[in-house]
């Protein structure tokens, strides 16, 4: 066996030439906090499964992108926000909306295209907004939310309201030019914005390795001097811990920060994607070994939460989701006259 040369010195990690955020710590949640995270993740999971069913029944049309598998990201990150802060994302948006406090039936009724939907049935799955809950979409053009979110950060700074903008985008959007245009301005102007890259490893059918020269996406801000942190996005407490670090960085006026959340979606890109670009085994193995909900469940049991209590949580959530689904099927479609409303705000 070769011996290490005597002269080998211990290699120091390179010193950054500028301030860096601290290495985030896994969040130490109380039992109640973890239970809340568990409920939120489960609500998204069951909601999305129901949406998938309704899609199969023809009640939901068009494109419908489910968040199943990625729940820990949004739950962990958004739990670190306050009501001063704003959220924007792409088209895989149902989960983020529920976490903003938008009632599940308002979202589900939008998916079924009903008048009672959050966008009066005119937006659909990819185009939902709630100014009241500071959720700014729901954007169907890949990457658009990054510039728009940077604009939300701009507005927080301009208004000096202490708020932070949170812009989610995927590994696919991370290759859009406008993302880097936005990074440049955000750092130049020290805007309060957290960029969360939800790296679920597939941009529709193209894996990160096939599309990205730099596949470590948290480094994508380097040339703009934006620090990035890579996070286990299948662990809600890791996501929360990283979010705390990011929020502290941004609120301190240090400018933007990037969180790359390594995650995985179990379903296809959208309901119409058969996901032939990966093996069934790959998906099953992620489900078996890395499921964020199962992981939280085990930790809750470790904290002394009884199986019966968790079953009760499950039942409550199923009830809530079923009610939302029933509502979304029964509530009427928009009146025909709605076709012509809301095109413009004012009359000329």
């Amino acid at each position: 066996m070769a011996k290490a040369p005597a002269s080998a010195r211990k290699v120091e990690p390179p010193k950054p030439n500028r301030e860096r955020p601290d290495e985030p710590k896994r969040y130490e949640a109380s039992k109640d906090e973890l239970l809340k995270f568990y409920k939120d993740m489960l609500l998204i999971r069951r909601f999305e499964e129901k949406a998938g069913q309704l899609y199969g029944l023809g009640l939901i049309g068009g494109f419908c992108h489910l968040y199943i598998g990625q729940e820990a990201v949004a739950v962990g990150v958004q739990s670190a926000l306050t009501d001063k802060d704003s959220v924007i994302t792409g088209y895989r948006d149902h989960g983020h909306m529920l976490l903003c406090g938008i009632p599940p039936k308002d979202v589900m009724a939008e998916l079924t295209g009903r008048e009672a939907g959050i966008s009066k049935g005119k937006g659909g799955s990819m185009h939902m907004f709630s100014v009241e809950h500071k959720f700014y979409g729901g954007h169907g053009i890949v990457g658009a939310q990054v510039s728009l979110g940077t604009g939300l950060g701009f507005a927080h700074k301009y208004n000096e309201d202490g708020g932070v903008a949170l812009a989610y985008f995927g590994d696919g959007a991370a290759n859009q030019g406008q993302v880097y245009e936005s990074f440049n301005m955000a750092e130049l102007w020290k805007l309060p914005i957290i960029y969360v890259i939800e790296n679920n490893q597939y941009a529709m059918g193209t894996s990160v390795n096939r599309s990205s020269a730099e596949d470590q996406l948290y480094r994508r801000g380097e040339s703009f001097r934006i620090p990035g942190i890579q996070v286990d996005g299948m662990d809600v407490l890791a996501a929360r811990g990283a979010a705390d670090e990011a929020v502290a960085w941004v609120r301190a006026g240090k400018g933007p920060i990037i969180l790359e959340m390594k995650t995985y979606r179990y379903r296809g890109h959208s309901m119409s994607d058969p996901a032939k670009y990966r093996t069934r085994d790959e998906v099953q193995s992620m489900r078996d070994t890395s499921d964020p909900i199962e992981r939280a469940k085990k930790e809750l049991e470790g904290l002394g939460v009884k199986e019966d209590d968790l079953k009760k949580v499950e039942q409550e959530i199923r009830k809530q989701v079923n009610e939302a689904a029933d509502f979304s099927e029964q509530t009427p479609e928009p009146d025909a006259a709605e076709l012509y409303t809301d095109v413009l705000v004012e009359t000329y």
């Binding site: 959050i118 185009h127 990054v146 406008q178 705000v345």
Partner: protein, 469 residues
């Protein structure tokens, strides 16, 4: 022989300027590259460099002189070995009557700036035409002469004073004072929080502006020209225009995208395009394209105030043109209302933006041939004021649409369809379109002239619909 230094043309539309400062005096030696003077045009102060070596023999135009015509001899340089004191004052070329003198001038070593006859210049000349009156202006209102550029600036400044949420962002809008000087002085008054220089990143900053509007602010996003907004058109159409509808009316996007649009002079294909028809086809947008300074001011103020997203199309050739603007504390015009620039009874000429000048010039020519044309300035392209156009058509029974832009899928095509669908019984002749030629804008002066609209083409079309060919 001594070299004449002539007042240079520093922009394609410059006719005269101010000799702001001499940096040399008589007797000074100069060599190529030395800065001799500062010359102010309507949009910038430019440095005037020496291209020859010698001694400043005479300065003919004192510093601080306004209105120095392009081509005027402002100084002379004596070459090496020449006696600077013996240099004579030359006769200006324009006044030289003797043919041989003119020839001599032409042979002089200094290059002679000359005004090339171009299509853009014809449009620029025609844009000196004023409306006969404006019914929106209350009787007895004091009028002041303002350039379109100043009117736009005043509109932004007034709205920024009135509403803290209004800010301006774009390339060179702050420290440079605007690439076309439209934002001149705004940085001084409002500071860098509200007048923001952006990197050259149209897609990005259009998105940032749109996002800021979603977040409750009222951004004015300046594009250096609308040609560059092609990189940002996704945010204008997909993000800004559709937001209110897609959100069921709960999310506003009150942003103004503004900047010069259409052909400028000799800037060729990639910098000469009218996007009016493009944006006017998008539901959810307001599209405004004013002609004179009063409309530019009144409509930009309205555009900033409205809660809808607005595309505000200016014209570079118009920026330096002066018009009467009412001196009122708050001159705001209604969006979506056309304006009758000149009443008439025989034929309706409809246009917008710089085309209005061409239409007014054509109306003048037609009057000389006994045809009384009515000229309508659409001012807003979306929503289109069909009522005013159809009412005029009902009176004249003939219509020609004049548009500085391509013919295919144009505002002119749209108006022809409107006339067919809603004014068919009033038509005594087919609607004719006078538009630019259906080609990318050429660079060569003669070809540019052929490609652009002019008043002779309008006169010809008007006579045709009046069956007076």
């Amino acid at each position: 022989m001594a070299i004449e230094l002539k007042m240079p043309a520093l922009s394609p539309t410059m006719e005269e300027g101010t000799l702001a400062k001499w940096l040399v005096k008589e007797g000074d030696a100069v060599k190529a590259g030395d800065i001799m003077a500062e010359i102010e045009t309507d949009k910038a102060t430019m440095e005037f460099e020496a291209v020859d070596e010698g001694t400043i023999a005479k300065i003919f135009v004192a510093e601080g002189t306004d209105g120095v015509k392009v081509g005027t001899v402002i100084a002379m340089i004596a070459e090496d070995g020449e006696d600077a004191g013996s240099v004579e004052t030359p006769k200006p070329v324009e006044e030289a009557e003797e043919p041989e003198l003119r020839e001599q001038a032409a042979e002089s070593k200094a290059p002679e700036p000359k005004l090339v006859e171009t299509g853009a210049r014809q449009m620029f000349e025609a844009a000196s035409h004023d409306a006969e009156s404006d019914p929106e202006v209350p009787d007895g209102t004091e009028m002041v002469k303002l350039t379109v550029r100043e009117a736009l600036r005043d509109a932004m400044a007034e709205e920024m004073r009135a509403d803290e949420r209004v800010f301006v962002m774009g390339e060179e809008v702050a420290q440079y004072q605007g690439a076309y000087k439209v934002t001149q002085g705004l940085l001084d008054e409002f500071g860098d929080k509200r007048v923001i220089d952006t990197p050259i990143t149209e897609y990005g900053f259009a998105g940032v502006g749109t996002g800021a509007a979603m977040g409750g602010l009222k951004p004015i996003v300046e594009f250096m020209t609308f040609n560059f907004a092609m990189q940002a058109i996704d945010h204008i159409v997909n993000s800004a225009a559709k937001t209110n509808y897609m959100s069921g009316g709960q999310m506003r996007c009150p942003v103004v995208f503004r900047g010069p649009n259409g052909a400028a002079s000799r800037v060729a294909a990639q910098h000469s395009q009218n996007y009016g028809p493009w944006y006017a086809s998008v539901p959810g947008l307001i599209v405004i394209a004013p002609y004179d300074a009063a409309d530019a001011k009144g409509l930009l103020k309205a555009a900033i105030r409205t809660d809808d997203p607005v595309v505000f199309l200016e014209n570079e050739l118009m920026y330096g043109r002066s018009f009467e603007v009412p001196k009122l504390d708050d001159w705001v015009l209604p969006i979506g209302k056309a304006r009758i620039m000149k009443p008439g009874k025989d034929v309706t000429l409809v246009s917008y933006s710089i085309g209005v000048g061409i239409a007014l010039e054509a109306a003048e020519k037609l009057a000389g041939e006994g045809i009384d044309a009515e000229v309508i300035d659409l001012r807003t392209l979306r929503p289109l004021d069909k009522a005013t156009v159809l009412k005029s058509l009902a009176k004249t029974n003939r219509m020609v649409v004049v548009e500085e832009g391509w013919p295919t899928c144009s505002i002119a095509s749209e108006l022809a369809a409107v006339a067919m669908e809603e004014g068919f019984d009033d038509l005594d002749a087919p609607v004719l379109r006078v538009t630019n030629e259906d080609v990318p804008m050429p660079y060569a002066a003669n070809l540019e002239k052929l490609a652009l609209i002019d008043s002779d083409k309008v006169v010809k079309a008007a006579k045709k619909v009046c069956y007076k060919e």
